[in-house]
């Protein structure tokens, strides 16, 4: 069956904003989602490991770091969910015909994701309120680690389901056979060669990001406890370097073994814009690893900061790469540019004005909370018991 016959049509309504703007918002939105999401995914596993490693010594840095990371998770989960709205909205607007179809083929795991999320989210609160808050939580340590591990496996499962859907939506040639085998939505995209390397590439990256998060805790704590702060920066950087090195290997697998050669070719000179972005991301990866390597040895603040900044840029670049890959895949099937645009100018104006207002408000709010908490001496300990 000709797969292009299976691409549903767009609704007979105009788009309310230009495609380039939607794409920009999609990429920025996904970026804002990816940051907290990575912290949660990697942070869950790493906090479980830190707490398990230090289960006998609750005064060790390792335990305190794990505790701080675990206590911050509920907030990051909340951010990740909220920031997911924008990319989910614009992927539906721009690539809905492909996205809805693949979602329906994976309906059951796709919907189950919501319940796994609910479950894991409550587990994160359970850890904070029921376990960490309790006095004499030492004997609870194995339970805490185990809970965090179960929670994290839940999040990893969510990520894996997403990878399934995001890859299946790119390959309409598989749809008909999958649907005809059964219409109950009980599938996953197992046969896809890019599925595993792609998922692993994102998954391993989240551990590196969690390392960066620990380093950020360290930056904050430098003023209060020089030694602990330096320990956090050093440990965080080490984690980052290790996992990023592993991820280089996974990335190679993804690039050479996962995606078809014709698309890989676009990133290696075939498409100028895509190549620039790809090279830039490689360069950023190199910079961030080198800087982190330095800070992992001498806990240097400037080196860590440089690594942090280049990592933030790197994640953005990687998201653009991911977007470019999607464009290459969908080019023959789906062209949002062909849908007429009747811009809702007023609403667009309101949106941007309120976006600026929101950012201003968040700064004010952040300042308010920050200064309220700074009055307390031992912030990290407090935040874990709040």
């Amino acid at each position: 069956m000709d797969p292009s016959q299976l691409i549903p049509s767009y609704q007979p309504l105009p788009f309310p904003l230009p495609v380039w703007l939607s794409q920009t918002l999609l990429v920025i939105g996904l970026y804002l989602h990816a940051l907290p999401m990575n912290v949660v995914l990697g942070g869950g596993f790493i906090s479980a490991a830190l707490l398990a490693a230090s289960r006998r010594d609750k005064s060790s840095y390792c335990w305190r770091a794990g505790q701080a990371l675990a206590s911050s998770l509920p907030l990051f989960i909340s951010f990740a969910i909220t920031q997911g709205i924008v990319p989910l909205l614009f992927v539906q607007l721009l690539y809905g015909p492909a996205f809805y179809t693949s979602s329906i083929l994976l309906a059951v795991p796709w919907l189950a994701l919501v319940f796994i999320l609910l479950f894991s989210y409550y587990l994160s609160y359970l850890v904070v309120y029921r376990f960490l808050k309790k006095e004499g939580g030492g004997n609870l340590a194995p339970l805490i680690s185990l809970t965090l591990l179960v929670m994290s496996i839940g999040f990893a499962a969510i990520g894996f389901t997403f990878s399934n859907n995001m890859t299946l939506m790119l390959t309409p040639d598989k749809w008909a056979a999958i649907y005809q085998s059964n219409p109950y939505g009980l599938h996953l995209n197992w046969q896809e060669p890019q599925l595993l390397p792609r998922f692993l590439h994102f998954f391993v990256a989240s551990f590196a990001v969690a390392g960066m998060t620990l380093g950020c805790f360290g930056l904050y704590l430098l003023r209060r406890s020089q030694e602990f702060g330096r320990w956090l920066i050093r440990t965080g950087s080490r984690l980052f370097v290790c996992f990023t090195m592993v991820n280089v290997g996974v990335g190679l697998w993804f690039f050479f073994g996962g995606i078809p050669a014709r698309f890989a070719h676009y990133f290696a000179g075939g498409d100028l814009q895509a190549t620039y972005m790809f090279v830039a991301s490689l360069a950023l990866a190199a910079i961030s690893v080198i800087c982190a390597l330095i800070s992992s040895i001498n806990s240097s603040k400037p080196a860590f900061l440089s690594s942090l900044v280049s990592t933030l840029a790197l994640i953005f670049a990687m998201i653009v790469n991911r977007h470019n890959l999607r464009l290459f895949y969908l080019q023959p099937y789906l062209r949002p540019e062909t849908v007429p645009v009747v811009a809702q100018t007023w609403l667009l104006g309101i949106f941007f004005v309120s976006a600026v207002a929101l950012i201003a408000f968040l700064f004010w709010l952040g300042h308010l909370v920050w200064s309220a908490w700074s009055k307390d001496a031992s912030v990290i300990d407090e935040s874990s018991t709040a």
Partner: protein, 451 residues
Amino acid sequence: MNYPVWVVPYLGGSWVIGIIAIIHIFISHFAVGCGAFFALAEELAYRRGDERIYAFLKQHSRFFVLVTTVAGAVTGVGIWFAVSLVGPDGIASLIQCFSLAWAEEYLFFVAELATAFAYYYTWNKISRQKHLLLARLYMIFSIATLVIINGMLTFMLTPGKWLTSHNWVDGFFNPTYCPSLIIRLLIMFALAGMYALVTSSRIAEPKFRTFMVRYCAKWLLPVFVIGPVVGFWYLTQIPQATMHTIFTGIQSSGVGNFSILARALYLSLILSGTIILFNFFGPYLNPRGFTFRIALLFLVCGLAVTGTTEWMRELLRKPYIVYGYLYSNGMHTDELPAKVDASFLKKGRWATAMATPDMPPVAKGELLFRYECMSCHTVRGYRSMKTLLGPRDEDALVGFLQLLRMRDRSVNPYSGIMPPLVASDDELQCLSKYLATINQKERAQAISMSH
């Protein structure tokens, strides 16, 4: 027809959405109503300098954060997921129309959640004026999220002038926008009261508990005093045909002929009555005896009334997703072929692609059933075909389907309740052949009875 159909046996796709949506509405309405509750109750505490109310609010805010930021937010995403699996054409239309309104909604969500966390994490850490300010800000942001989403929700029942202009403002500020906004706000206050009763019931000190339980009970008053008036206003704004369906439903139910709509309406009324009486005899008259268990029971009643009322509201829209624009089964009204016996399987991407020429008639019938009927019916389960078909044989089914093809209300009594059937004569035969496989047992029974 445009998309593959997700087959959900027994429950039906609509209840997949329904179950998630009812839970979400029950929590999200609480989230908004509680904004007002925090703002007003904290003001009370501030004016009186009453530490006990502060302590109560602090306690309540943890419950609030745990319920709304987790279950509220996640089920909200859940609805979105479910809707896109069950009715992709509907959600795609809404998104293509209102993506910017949704984006705006997102901004308020962020503000709402950030403020909620700030409110929760700054108890006794910032000045009381500032904390009160946070409560008020939260109230404003949370109500703003309702102000936006209400436009999209009411649009589906009463798209109003949008049908001709296709201008988002017409669709957004549609005829039922205002009454619906007010009713929802009132319900939100009531739910805020009900949830707060749960926290109040755990207060140890009897005198303060009496005070707080009564205070919370009063939050249910507005919806029962103003609600009916606004409800009437709402009814004057809904489409004529829907009004007609309601009236016929009530009339025919008087003599024992029940439409699902009439049942949902009665249930909603009965359960609302229960809430009024319960609230009066429970927390209001007997605050001392209002225990935690009773409070939870009351909350369950609240969930029941929310569920049935939302179910009824959804039923009002039948047979459309967007009234007068998009049918429940994903067919656009302007796609309806002029000729009564035009073929269905030559329309829409997936429906066409799935219909291979060498398909056996029953399989073809099943495909038609999937695309034309399954958005509302299941084979056995909710609105079960097995039950509805009874012992009809294939000839009777053909006759019935021919009736369903008609678009004239005087000929087809189901017109306006069900989308018109689109099928060529051949397809009609296939569909009836398939339907006849569903009620085989019933037919056999009927035959054995008559002998």
